[in-house]
Symmetry: C2
Subunit: 250 residues, 2 copies
């Protein structure tokens, strides 16, 4: 699209293209070169959270873009004169974000399975060495039965995929990132027709188990939901366990 | 020991035994019963960080122990009237702490491998959604070449082992915790004679790679250390990669 009609071809030489997506760092470097051939400036400006911008590019690109990017961001980082480093930092951030959200779900699900009060668990862990930004940000939604998607499962299928591609190119093993990637792929695959690509992070094991355990039941009686989920004909998956200590499950 | 000479046998009925270790929650419950037979009160009071105490036990045990435990703690939680819940919360906290420290090492090591400035990486991630208590607490030591052990590798071999035992008893899968456990076991096994059980968390891949990359070299010239580590006869492991973009390694 960028190089099709109405894309970079229509941009005036000396104007700047600002890349805000999380992309393969090598692809970002190549894009900088390709745009430079057309006299177009390039700023790699990946975005994280609310709202951190990690940038790198030539001085001329900064001259054009820095004021507006600083205006719209809470934190603005300049990481170098050539595209790529910001994308690398972003995918490493996504490595951690993805592992942490999957670990938060795994921990919360184990706690429910073991009959620990989820509010006690949240209160203690968010004040202890086990805390992460993702745990303290996402788990209150599990406690409040709020299953509004905050980020799509497929975002982490893609971003952890980029992490693994980058590491594979350098022959660098990432045991945790690849485990988390499998977990997100399973969550993404689980409801292809009902939610498809719109599936949210509420589809991760911890969120689902929390819901199934009756901690959160979207207003429906927890016991009925529990019976339907675990003892109906369409039990979703043998790896999703009943988190209640009910007679049929213990 | 507790039930041998000078142990519980010597304690007067009505006195209290306070358990501060991270132990199997079921073992803690059994200990409560066994001590009760001797008329000894029991308070499960697992400790985390600086210094959170998670407690449960009978009212009589609280009456004896609560004032002093509150005095020595920054945060004091009461999680129930029967031993076990605190130990469960603690091992779930350790699940997250162990996964997060291994993930922090994995992320930092990938960044170094990819040639990202480690201080930029730290600065951005500790202010982004990828942050964790472990990342912001441990990674500055990597940046500062401070390899003083802050916690023994074998602590996580034990604690993640307890996590996995608990989950196995409930037939609950923990993909990330078991991956992290393998990583700690590998780190523990790597230097059996030199450090043995005293091996610290600096032995995890990220810390080691950081050191090997010349970011931190304990005062020895980084280039020499790098050559010895990667191009000497005793290359430590095929999975530990050179994080420098040197001609022999790329």
């Amino acid at each position: 699209m960028l190089f099709g009609a109405g894309g970079a071809a229509a941009m005036r030489p000396g104007s700047a293209f600002v890349m805000c997506s999380t992309v393969d760092p090598n692809w970002s470097s190549r894009l900088e070169v390709r745009l430079a051939e057309k006299g177009i400036l390039y700023l790699d400006a990946t975005i994280s959270g609310e709202i951190t911008i990690m940038t790198e590019g030539a001085d001329a690109a900064y001259a054009l873009c820095e004021p507006i990017l600083k205006y719209i961001s809470a934190r603005f980082y300049k990481l170098g004169a050539k595209a790529g480093a910001g994308s690398k930092v972003k995918i490493i951030n996504q490595l951690l974000a993805g592992v942490h959200i999957a670990a938060a779900a795994e921990a919360m699900a184990l706690g429910l399975r073991e009959g620990v009060d989820p509010r006690d668990l949240y209160e203690v862990i968010s004040n202890s060495a086990g805390n992460s930004w993702m745990f303290s940000n996402r788990m209150p939604h599990v406690l409040d039965a709020d299953y509004t998607p905050l980020s799509a499962v497929d975002i982490f299928v893609k971003d952890l995929g980029l992490v693994l591609d980058t590491a594979r190119a350098s022959k660098f093993p990432l045991p945790l990132a690849s485990t988390a990637h499998k977990m997100f792929m399973q969550a993404s695959r689980r409801r292809p027709r009902r939610r498809g690509r719109r599936g949210g992070d509420q589809d991760l094991p911890g969120h689902r188990t929390a819901q199934q355990a009756g901690v959160a039941a979207r207003g429906r009686p927890a016991a009925r939901l529990h019976r339907r989920r675990f003892h109906g004909r369409h039990r979703p998956s043998p790896t999703i366990s009943c988190a209640r200590a009910c007679a049929r499950c213990r």
